[in-house]
Amino acid sequence: MIKRWIYISAVIIAAFAVWDASAADISVSASVDTSKDVYAGDDFSYQIIIDGYDQPGQPDLSPLAVFKPRGAGGGNNSQTSISIVNGRTTTNVVKRYVMNYVLTAGPAGIMHIPAVTVTVNGKQYQTNEIVLTIVKPGTTDQLELEVTLSQEKCYAGQPVILTVKFYVYANIGDYQFDILALTNDAFYVEDNEATKQYRVNRRNREAILLTFSKVLIPKHAGDIDLGTPSVSADVAAGRTRSRDGFFDDFFQSNVQYKRFSVSAQPLKLSVLPLPQQDKPNGFYGLVGRYMISASAAPTKVSVGDPITLTIKVGGEYLKPVQWPDLEQISGLSENFKMPSQKSSPTIENGLKVFTQTIRPANDKITEIPSIPLAYFDADKGQYVVAKTDPIKLEVSPTKILTTADVEGQDFTPAGREVEAVKKGISANYESPDCLQNVRFSLAAAVTSPVYLISWAAPLLVLITSVLAKVFVHTTPEQAARKRRRSAAGNAVSQLKKIQPAQMQSHPELLAYVMKQYIGERFDKVAGSLTADDCMQTIIDRTGDSASANHYKDIVSRCDAGRYAPMQQHLDSATIDEVIGLIRVIEKESKI
């Protein structure tokens, strides 16, 4: 009993050892690309390497959250090597899977990237911690940055232009702006001028000027610190020498860059609240200076006729300009029908254009009333309501067509061809057959009475015809063929029924059977056959003259035996001879 327990324990320990050894083959590590300096705020590559396994693991990246990790794919880097020593092949497989991520470096200094837990094949592993030195870009007089605001004080909602000027005095590679105002939640940021590049002379030095501007629209009142804008750029610092100097010069592939950073003056913006006093109705936050005008066409209409009303709004910054609220304008909503759907405005010649179709509801309307636009004039510090001029209209009652109008020839074009419009939609069905259920199932249709009759009845007719033809209706050829097939069997059967005693008393029985066989087998009339006919027929059909003569001889003897039975020696052996002859004839017969 003790021995048995020791044995079981040994087996369990051995199994654990094997399992542990296989698990111990997997190891997980982390690494970063240190071939280049990593500057503050730069993105750099981070890899999780799984050795001993060729499938991706499941890393818990939460410890790296501060570095904003982004997946950059992964791949199986396993290697297989085969060595043959003294004819013996050894295959060595090194399994490895590499998972790539991109992290963003923090501020300059020593940066610790913590260990990450990776689940591989159901088991958790820890990567190593990585210590990385984040380099602070140097400063240089080869770069210069100017960032200015169009004004330092503004009202909430008032657009402010931020202009960026970046002067470059050297050959540079990549560059990156760090301007807090463009990412600050306190503003709506809109494009103003796209990036342009000029060659300028600044402080007696040739420089390249990169410039662009953005529109900042402050959302709320208050003092906003916009920090110190800066730009970091890779500036060419020298060249490395190599053997292939020509190609290096041509492709500029050997230029060495070094990261530098320069800053502009700190920016601050004081945002004043809009006054609550005298705020007009319909004001929705427009700040600046705007003008509004309107036109309508046609101005001489009947009740219900469409009038195209065009409203144009001009100003410094048109993006926040919204559709005028026509439904709230007294005299417009009551007297005109306006669809609720509105077309999108367009920008034409620096004006925002709104187009709407309106229809006069009665013939007492004399004008389209003024359309207001409320805005806050930041220069004057007061609200202004700009208005369009009223548009005079002549609205006549709806014209009722009379027979005279219809018959009038003066204005009706004659001889016009009628042209059908083929595209479009057809009208609804209203007939009662719309309510007929036409659901169709193939299985149900096959067994439905109407369809069943349509396919089963003809099939039945066909099957019946075939059967009738096969079993009932036979042709003379078929009958003859059948007779030929059964001739030998019938003959042998009848021969076996003849008793030896009968052979002496009624030898004609044997002759009858033999002639009948020849008749049936070779399509002859048995009653009219003679012994010679039998012989000739057998010769014709088999070519066996010996058998034919023998057959003739027996038939002749039987015929003669009818008149002199005692002189003919006929017995059971004769029957056997005849059976033998029939089998020979059957065998040699050509038909």
Binding site: P339, S340, K423, I425, N428, Y429, L435, A445, P458, V461
Partner: protein, 271 residues
């Protein structure tokens, strides 16, 4: 005890019967609903200036037509066509195309359905190129695409009857030129229509089609919103697709140009 059990059974039966009765409509109710739907549709058509009112009337027509289909258990191409017209005039392109396709499935030979379906397709935001091969195939094997299953089955039955009867006559009276021609033609047509029925039956069972009914939907490369989008822009209502796979809450769809993606199940309907 037995009496009590019987009473409970009786109540259950009555309740079930009541439910069943409540779920279906009588012929009179169906007729009344059809009349209401047509009236609402006509009124909506005559309301020119008031979009809200006309939309409300179209919606009323839509509800009535849908009630006839769902609760009246009536499948009719003309009914689906009317429903699709109401959706189209209401501005719901996705559901209009869906119901035109359902109507087309029941009757491929109706030119009005084809005309309105073409018009609705022309108003879609997205344009998906249809493969030329399919159009060529559509012309070559026209009977497969243009005939309804019922029509094909009827023609197949007639051809089968002609084939059998011609053969039977030939058995009794021998081969005649007319009989041989009739047998050959009917056999050829029978093969064409039976083949078409088999293909259509298989494709109905295996290849489900659908239409995007949501105004806008982003298709992803997998069954989750963490996958990257499949197309540069969202898909819009009315896009027709073949259903490749169905997973909980998601459809894997293939468009006519063979591009594919996954969309949430509630943004599309199967025809």
């Amino acid at each position: 005890m037995i009496a009590r059990s019987l009473l409970i059974c009786l109540v259950c039966l009555l309740f079930t019967a009541g439910l069943a009765a409540g779920d279906t409509l009588s012929k009179e109710q169906i007729n009344a609903l059809f009349s209401q739907a047509n009236d609402a549709f006509r009124q909506a058509n005559s309301t020119v200036d008031d979009t809200d009112k006309s939309n409300s009337l179209y919606e009323e027509a839509v509800l009535s037509y849908e009630k006839i289909i769902r609760q009246g258990h009536i499948e009719n191409p003309k009914l689906y066509y009317n429903l699709a017209n109401a959706y189209l005039l209401k501005g719901d392109i996705g559901r209009a195309i869906l119901d035109y396709r359902r109507a087309e499935k029941l009757d491929k030979s109706d030119s009005d359905i084809q005309k309105n379906l073409t018009f609705a397709r022309g108003r879609r935001v997205d344009k998906v190129e249809i493969k030329t091969e399919k159009q060529v195939l559509r012309t070559l094997v026209f009977w497969h695409y243009d005939f309804s299953m019922r029509a094909k089955f009827t023609v197949a039955c007639v051809c089968f009857a002609v084939f059998c009867l011609a053969l039977a006559v030939m058995i009794w009276f021998g081969r005649r030129a007319l009989l041989t021609t009739a047998t050959g033609i009917s056999a050829a047509l029978l093969v064409c229509f039976i083949g078409s029925l088999a293909v259509e039956g298989y494709s109905h069972a295996a290849n489900l089609s659908g239409v995007v009914v949501a105004a806008e939907v982003v298709a992803y490369q997998g069954d989750g919103q963490n996958y990257p989008p499949s197309f540069k822009a969202p898909l819009h209502a009315g896009i027709e697709f073949e259903l490749v796979e169905r997973r909980p809450g998601w459809f894997h769809i293939k468009l006519a140009d063979d591009s594919d993606g996954w969309i949430p199940q509630n943004t599309a309907e199967i025809i």
